[in-house]
């Protein structure tokens, strides 16, 4: 895959399928738009739109109790909403695969995103979540593949942070013209 290639969402979707993921909880993010679309279109995958990110922790844990692998998609601001529930994941040793698109990182135009974005890796680590970072489009699928193996093979909570550099840095002007 070339660096300019924007087909990473399809490769990532295939990685999730190969990892046996059949339930995907999500709170939308612009960077996850395409991935969400292909998950929703897949009749063998249950895509569940959430009203807040922590719901997805319960969803994925419930799925695992029922023998099904789940994944949870969100923007980094949503990580803050999940904190208490990550404690349950740790206590019960539920596997958890989180895909987090970053805000407040490189070139952020919205100051209100910066604090949570900058704190995201520390917050996850503090709650016992293993953090992987994907900083280039061609690295995303392989990083998620490794994260899924760690999550479901070794019963760990693992988050893949997808860099803002991959998703593209937005400006107010670009936002307004969309």
């Amino acid at each position: 895959m070339k660096r300019s290639d924007n087909s990473w969402p399809e490769a990532l979707y295939k990685t999730l399928k190969d990892a046996g993921v059949r339930q995907v909880g999500y709170v939308p993010d612009g960077g996850l738009k395409r991935l969400i679309e292909v998950c929703v279109a897949d009749k063998d995958m249950r895509a569940v739109v959430l009203s807040t990110e922590e719901e997805g922790i319960g969803l994925a844990a419930g799925a695992w109790l029922g023998g099904v692998r789940g994944a949870l998609l969100m923007q980094s601001s949503g990580v803050g909403n999940c904190i208490n529930h990550l404690g349950t994941v740790r206590e019960c040793r539920f596997p958890l695969l989180m895909l987090v698109t970053m805000r407040g990182q490189v070139g952020e135009f919205n100051p209100w995103q910066v604090a949570m974005g900058q704190a995201t890796p520390a917050v996850l680590s503090a709650m016992g979540v293993v953090v992987h970072e994907a900083n280039a489009p061609e690295a995303i699928a392989s990083t998620v593949d490794a994260a899924a193996r760690l999550a479901f093979g070794s019963y760990q909570a693992v988050a893949v942070l997808i860099s803002q550099a991959v998703i593209g840095i937005k400006s107010f002007q670009q936002q307004a013209s969309r």
């Binding site: 319960g58 799925a63 695992w64 029922g66 208490n84 040793r93």
Partner: protein, 196 residues
């Protein structure tokens, strides 16, 4: 209106002859209630994750569409996760029931009044969110119909059961989360669960 129902009696009636019903309980009193009715491997009593009991039920119900799933939780716990009712309303799992044992109190922290004490109607919230059946009930005579809906008829079902605010002896389930998870999975999925 006078509240006459006792929570332990309600939960015992709902879980009578439960067969292979999968049960998730919210933290606190409802976890003690399902345990008082008989601790079982197919119980998953939460000791934390306040506000998320219904979502555990949703994940489980979607994963196991051929089994019936019951979430029993308290009014305070449900209030913390009202959005999950909307999320369930979108998915409409036919095999899921959410029952709120509503004593209008935060029972574990000093019996402070919850929003339902001021009249917040959780059954109407669930109805507005798209649950197939919703009810608020306060008499024993209506429990049998709820029990059969939980076991047999297409959901999602929601019930808000008004019960007396009473402080009862604790009946505690195991509190090791990893153990509760492992025993549930083994009972549901068989020996293979440990090798998954």
């Amino acid at each position: 209106m006078k509240t006459v129902l006792h929570r332990r009696q309600v939960v015992e009636i709902l879980l009578q002859d439960r067969k292979d019903l999968l049960v998730v309980a919210g933290l606190g009193s409802t976890a003690w209630d399902i345990t008082a009715a008989g601790d079982a491997p197919l119980n998953f009593p939460l000791w934390g994750a306040m506000g998320n009991a219904a979502m555990f039920g949703l994940g489980l119900a979607l994963a196991q569409p051929k089994r019936r799933v019951l979430v029993v939780t308290g009014d305070g716990e449900m209030l913390m996760g009202l959005g999950s009712l909307a999320t369930i309303g979108v998915q409409k799992p036919r095999n899921l029931s959410v029952v709120v044992i509503d004593n209008e109190r935060y029972g574990e922290t000093g019996m402070q009044a919850t929003h339902t004490a001021a009249g917040v109607d959780l059954a109407k919230v669930a109805q507005a969110c798209g649950f197939r059946t919703t009810r608020q009930l306060r008499v024993r005579a209506r429990l049998a119909a709820l029990r059969s809906a939980i076991h047999a008829s297409p959901g999602p079902h929601f019930a808000q059961i008004k019960v007396r605010a009473e402080k009862l002896p604790l009946v505690l389930p195991p509190r090791d989360g990893a153990l509760l998870k492992a025993r549930f999975r083994k009972a549901l999925l068989g020996e293979q669960a440990d090798l998954d």
